[in-house]
Assembly symmetry: C2
C-alpha cells in the first residue's frame, strides 16, 4: 500500500487551520496541525512532514524566520500561505527558499493544485539527509560538505545513514548491527568496529575528523564541529 504524503499546517488561527486540515484530509493526505508555538521548529522536525504550509504572521518567530531555519535543515517543500498580499513579502519569502507564495483567501483547488505540483517535483529529488552542515545522499551513498563530496561503500554508507537519521542522539551498537546484519545471529561484534574505522578514515579524507564519536558503553554519535 502506498503511503499518502503528510502535509503539516503552521497557522495560528485555529478555524483556518482546521479548515485547511480538512481540505487536505478530504483529498487523502495525512495531515498534521501545529499544536503550539512554544518551539515550532522542534515540533516540525519531529513530525517529518512531506510538505509544510506556512503562515507569515505567527506568535513568536515569524514565518520568514521559520522558513529560513527549516530550509537550512530540511528537504521538504514550503508553501507560504498568508493574508499579506505584498510583493516585497513575496520576494523575501522566495529569496529565503520558500517554494510558493499564495495569498488568503485562496480557493482550495488552487492550493491543492500547487501542493500537488510541489510534491511531484520534490519526489524526483534525491533523498537527502541533513544535519549540522552535512548532507547525505542516501541513494548515491554520498556525503556533501562545504565544497567537497565523498562516495562511501555500501556498508559504511548505511552506518552513516543511521547516524544521520538519529543525530544528535546516540545510536547503540546493537541497533546498528541489527540493522545491517539482520540482528539474528550477530555475525561478530568486531565487524562493526572495523567498518567504523574504515568510515572514519574515509571521513578524514575530506577533512571531517572526529565527526563520529564513541560513547563508551552506549554507542556512536554524530558530532559536527560547527552548526550551519
Amino acid at each position: 500500500m502506498i503511503m499518502k504524503p503528510c502535509i503539516m499546517i503552521i497557522e495560528d488561527n485555529i478555524y483556518l487551520r482546521e479548515e485547511l486540515l480538512h481540505t487536505f484530509a478530504k483529498e487523502g493526505y495525512a495531515v498534521l496541525g501545529i499544536s503550539s508555538f512554544q518551539s515550532p521548529e522542534q515540533e516540525i522536525l519531529n513530525a517529518h512532514p512531506d510538505l509544510v504550509v506556512l503562515d507569515i504572521n505567527l506568535p513568536g518567530k515569524s514565518g520568514f524566520e521559520l522558513c529560513k531555519w527549516l530550509k537550512n535543515r530540511c528537504t521538504f517543500p514550503i508553501l507560504i500561505l498568508t493574508a499579506r498580499d505584498d510583493l516585497n513579502d513575496e520576494l523575501r519569502a522566495l529569496g529565503l527558499g520558500a517554494d510558493d507564495y499564495l495569498t488568503k483567501p485562496c480557493p482550495p483547488n488552487r492550493l491543492l493544485a500547487r501542493v500537488t505540483r510541489l510534491l511531484e517535483t520534490y519526489q524526483k529529488l534525491p533523498s537527502l539527509l541533513k544535519f549540522g552542515g552535512l548532507t547525505f545522499d542516501v541513494d548515491a551513498c554520498r556525503i556533501l560538505w562545504k565544497t567537497t563530496s565523498l562516495t562511501l561503500p555500501e556498508t559504511e554508507g548505511r552506518i552513516f545513514q543511521l547516524l544521520m537519521e538519529h543525530a544528535p542522539d546516540i545510536v547503540s551498537k546493537e541497533y546498528i548491527a541489527g540493522n545491517l546484519w539482520g540482528g539474528v545471529d550477530y555475525v561478530d561484534e568486531n565487524i562493526l568496529q572495523v567498518n567504523m574505522t574504515r568510515l572514519r578514515k574515509n571521513l578524514d579524507k575530506i577533512g571531517l575528523k572526529d565527526i563520529v564519536r564513541t560513547v563508551r558503553g552506549q554507542g556512536y554519535v554524530l558530532c559536527p564541529s560547527s552548526e550551519p
Copy 2:
C-alpha cells in the same frame, strides 16, 4: 567560468517578448526568443533551454498543448505567463505539469524571483535524458522505463548516454570510440562491439529488445518501439 542559465521566451507579442528578453538579459541570463510558430516544439528542443516562459494564447498550438508535449520529453521547468486570469486555466496548466502560473501584467521582480526559485530547485534534480519513453539518469547510470529500472556499468552507461543525447540520429562508431577511449590510439575496434553486446544483453533484461539498432557502415541508433 560559470555559464548562466538560458531562458527561452515563447510569446507571440513581439513587444512583450522583447521586453521579457530584456528583463532576463539585464540579470545576466542567456536569453532566447521563439522566432516562429511553424514548429515551436522543434525550435525549443534544439535550443536546450534551462527554463521556458510560456504564453497560453499562441498562434497554432496552444500553450497548454505545448506544455504537455514538452513535459513528456524534456526536463526543464516551464513557467506559464498569460493574460488569462482564470482559475480553471491555472488548474489545467498545473495539472499538465507546468511549474508555475503567473498572470500579466507581472512585475519583473516577481517573475525573476519565481524563475530563480525554479532554477534553484531544478538544479538539485538528477540530470535526466529523455527520449522515446525512456529516461536515463546520467549520474546514476540508470535507465527508467515504465515501472522498471536498470543500473548499467560505467562503460555501457556512457555509450547509452551518447545514443540518448543524439537520438534519433545515428551515432558513428568512431565518435563513440573517440569519446570513450580518447580517440587517439583506438584501443581496438572490437571493444566497442563487445560493450554493445553487453549493453544489449542488459537492456534485454528489462524487456528493451532491439532498442539499439546497427546501421551497417554508419554506426548505431536508438529506436524505441513506441513513442510516449
